[in-house]
């Protein structure tokens, strides 16, 4: 072992040199050509099939084109569809634009849409997004409560010719053209080759969009999409997009800080700090169709009195929380749907959504006070701790109740306790709509058969009637849904908290980024500096 000390010293000196002296590529390296965009994404994607993906919206919206599109102002336009028309809001005729092709060169036909929707809705395929099609007639036959479905096709779909097909709905639905818009990816078409091997298609989806994947996706590896030369729609502003997978959002954010990533989402725990980390022109915050609430355990009689629920709402200083925790990027909610929704009745919650500690205490007193401990429940490990601790503080101070915030182990525990009415206090509740219509959020939360079980508080029969009425008589302007919100305001089943924003940071290569009406940036239209 002679000289081992010497060699050990040499090795450590060497590693010190490597550590300190090896300065590699400078941030914002110019290996990429100018119109290549690098996106840092932190959501694990098991499957890229549009009917199955639940967190790869940016990618799916880049390689597919929707039938209809809603821009940031809520304006509806037609992309892959030439028209979507109906006389009675039940029977719809969808006419496709001529000359569109999939990335494999085959033409996009009405048959492709019908076949795809049948595949998505067929229960044994277990497509995660199949619920988006539930309004189509025959969906319940493909999704029976028990056992195997007896048919494989939605009875409401019929091909008329190569570019035209008709859709019959279960009930009148004036919002159907909006439901066909960009974030409802279950409505995207798949080519005939997809049906032979759905699993393989999930790794290499062939779309009808402005960009096409360059190769099958491999777990943990970047995904690259290039401009599709034969795209029939408006040409993309970028030539190539690379999605680099990150294990968590904070790391992607940090890499954006160093300039290695062009676009990354702002993680929840950096919202306060992001304005210090990034220059103003590198931070984009888009109003999103998401809204958070404090759910009410209506099975617990302590919350039966409407004044208790209103008092809880008035005791929370939404502005202060927004400033302290969200860097003012979110907005205090003033209605039961976010203001980005067309025709949203902003301010319908009135004084009950405004901070008024004395009024809140008086109202609770009037209702006879609150017995026992008030436990706030929220899913743990998702970054909600600060928010719920803050709310518990306000309730403790302003209402003089023993309020505490309790996280669950994870989503699974929280979801089950909520569904089975085990929660014994107000709880986390939110809805992120996939299409910007009040209908989406109201139906998901407050209808007789809500998508989010027990999220919307005690069901109100009149709301269901008002929703059906609005669906039948309404239009894209959304004003028909105000009646339903009035009824909700009268009963105050749950407490609206914040309208969400989706915030993104960019490298200085990004000159302009715009969002569509679903709060997601339109990646194919990102303008890069110097282009």
């Amino acid at each position: 072992m002679r000289g081992s000390l010497k060699s050990a010293l040499a090795v450590s000196a060497l590693s010190a040199i490597v550590l300190t002296g090896c300065s590699g590529a400078e941030p914002g390296d110019d290996e990429q050509s100018p119109a290549d965009l690098v996106i840092g994404s932190a959501d694990p994607v098991p499957n890229l099939t549009p009917g199955r993906q639940t967190n790869a919206f940016g990618l799916t919206m880049s390689i597919f084109s929707p039938l209809t599109f809603l821009d940031g102002d809520g304006e509806l336009s037609y992309v892959a569809a030439e028209s979507v028309e109906s006389d009675d809001q039940i029977h719809w005729t969808i006419t496709l634009r001529d000359g569109w092709t999939f990335h494999d060169g085959t033409e996009v036909t009405a048959q492709d849409y019908v076949d795809t929707w049948n595949t998505v809705a067929y229960a044994p395929n277990a497509f995660e997004n199949s619920g988006q099609l539930s309004v189509i007639e025959g969906y319940s036959d493909l999704n029976p409560a028990e056992g195997e479905p007896s048919t494989q096709e939605l009875s409401g779909l019929e091909v008329i010719d190569d570019l035209t097909f008709s859709v019959t709905l279960d009930r009148a639905d004036s919002q159907f053209p909006i439901e066909l818009s960009q974030a409802q990816t279950a409505f995207y078409p798949m080519p005939q080759s997809a049906f032979d091997d759905l699993q393989a298609y999930g790794q290499l989806p062939i779309g009808n969009g402005p960009l096409a994947l360059t190769g099958a996706w491999v777990e943990g590896e970047p995904i690259i999409a290039e401009k599709y030369e034969d795209y029939a729609g408006e040409e993309a502003a970028v030539d190539q997009i690379t999605w680099v997978p990150y294990t968590d959002r904070l790391t992607a954010y940090t890499d954006a800080l160093a300039g290695n990533v062009d676009i990354a989402r702002v993680p929840a725990n950096r919202m306060k700090q992001v304005a210090d980390d990034f220059d103003e022109d590198r931070l984009y915050s888009f109003a999103a169709p998401g809204i958070s609430y404090l759910g009410i355990p209506y099975w617990d009689e302590r919350f039966e009195d409407i004044r208790v629920r209103q008092a809880i709402s008035m005791a929370i200083d939404r502005d202060a929380i927004n400033d302290a925790l969200f860097g003012d990027l979110n907005a205090p909610a003033t209605a039961w749907t976010p203001s980005i929704m067309p025709g949203n009745p902003d301010g319908i919650c009135a004084e009950y959504c405004e901070y008024d500690p004395e009024g809140a205490a008086a109202l609770l007193q009037e209702a006879g006070g609150f017995e026992g401990e008030l436990t706030l429940h929220f899913p743990g490990g998702a970054g909600h701790d600060d928010l719920y601790n803050a709310i518990a503080n306000y309730l403790r101070q302003n209402l003089d109740v023993e309020a505490i915030a309790r996280p669950s182990v994870g989503w699974a525990e929280f979801g089950e306790d909520r569904n089975s009415k085990v929660l014994d206090g107000p709880f986390f509740s939110r809805w992120g709509a996939l299409y910007p219509s009040q209908q989406s959020t109201l139906r998901a939360m407050f209808s007789a058969a809500p998508n989010c079980t027990n999220c919307g508080g005690e069901p109100i029969a009149e709301v269901e009637a008002a929703l059906n009425d609005a669906d039948a008589t309404g239009s894209e302007d959304g004003t028909a849904y105000v009646r339903a919100q009035e009824l909700i305001a009268e009963q105050f089943p749950i407490v609206p908290l914040f309208e969400e924003s989706y915030s993104f940071v960019t490298s200085d290569r990004v000159a302009q980024m715009t969002a569509s009406a679903v709060g997601e940036p339109v990646l194919t239209e990102v303008l890069l500096a110097g282009n």
Binding site: M1, A8, S15, S130, T254
Partner: protein, 308 residues
């Protein structure tokens, strides 16, 4: 030796079945329904959930699920996650990364702690000795994520010397900083052990004899002291290597290293039973095998251990 080995391997098998069963049960009794949680706050349609439960056998009783799992395991099939991905594929893409990271960290621990231990032990009570003792305490008492994030900010963003995320730059550039941070946490124990060992050995009779014979200090330390002082340290270092493989979770998260630690963490959060059991079992296995190897190594170095 053969009997010794046979006994240890038999123990391995028993521990293997015990551990898989315990972990399987533990994941199973976690509150909540992993299928319902797949959709997060946008729940999946009931018919889809039912279909998935059936597909993954979650509607069967626990013992039947475990037997099915074991049945697959015997045929080398570790099953699939609830999103249909193969567990063995998920692990195969991550093990090399974690092993590289752990080995790099371990090597750094070995090199640095032996140097520090020697330097401190040979000059007992000196400034060097005191600074090593103090320094290792400080290093170990700062939480690993604080060191990780600070180092990432300093070396990655401010100085731009190391990549901030990922190991795309390959070895050593991508691995060095995270490995060094992990190494810091093994340093304190090992360098102190080394120091104590050196101090003891230096005071032993045979060293005094060597000195009396006029052998140079360099030769005494390099040949005789090192060999004798190393025996207990090797034991600790080897056990540490096993622990390191599972202990890289925090650093993997901070540096976006797609390793086994990350996989296990996410799997537990999502209650991906098959994945948790797969990863945990492999970790237990590696730990057990390292232990057997250490025992064998020790019994070779020190025959007294073998007498049983």
């Amino acid at each position: 030796m053969a009997r010794f080995l046979a006994r240890r391997i038999l123990e391995l098998v028993i521990v293997f079945f015990g551990v898989t069963f315990v972990i399987y049960c533990a994941v199973f009794v976690l509150p909540g329904d992993p299928i319902a949680a797949l959709g997060g706050d946008r729940p999946l349609p009931e018919s889809v959930q039912q279909q998935l439960r059936m597909q993954y056998g979650l509607d069967l009783p626990l013992w039947q699920q475990y037997l099915n799992y074991l049945g697959g395991l015997v045929q080398g099939d570790l099953g699939t996650t609830f999103t249909g991905q193969s567990v063995s594929e998920q692990m195969a893409s991550r093990w090399p990364t974690t092993i590289t990271l752990a080995l790099t960290a371990w090597s750094l621990t070995v090199i640095i702690s032996i140097i520090l231990g020697l330097a401190a032990g040979l000059r007992q009570g000196s400034v060097v000795d005191r600074s090593v003792l103090l320094g290792t305490i400080i290093a170990e008492s700062v939480p690993i994520f604080v060191v990780g994030i600070t180092a990432q900010y300093l070396f990655g963003i401010k100085l731009g010397w190391t990549p901030i995320a990922g190991v795309a730059d390959g070895w050593p550039r991508g691995y060095l900083l995270p490995a060094l941070i992990i190494a810091i946490y093994g340093l304190a124990g090992v360098s102190r052990l080394m120091r104590g060992s050196v101090v003891d050995t230096m005071q032993s009779d045979f060293v005094r004899t060597l000195k009396a014979k006029g052998i140079s200090r360099r030769s005494i330390v390099g040949v005789h002291v090192m060999r004798n002082a190393a025996a207990p340290v090797i034991n600790v270092l080897a056990i540490q290597l096993g622990g390191l493989l599972g202990g890289t979770v925090v650093i993997e998260a901070i540096f976006n290293i797609n390793g086994v630690g990350q996989l296990l963490y996410k799997a537990i959060q999502d209650q991906q039973g098959t994945l948790v059991v797969g990863v945990a079992t492999t970790l237990v296995f590696i730990f057990l095998i390292t232990n057997v190897l250490v025992d064998v190594l020790t019994s070779v170095l020190d025959p007294r251990v073998r007498n049983d």
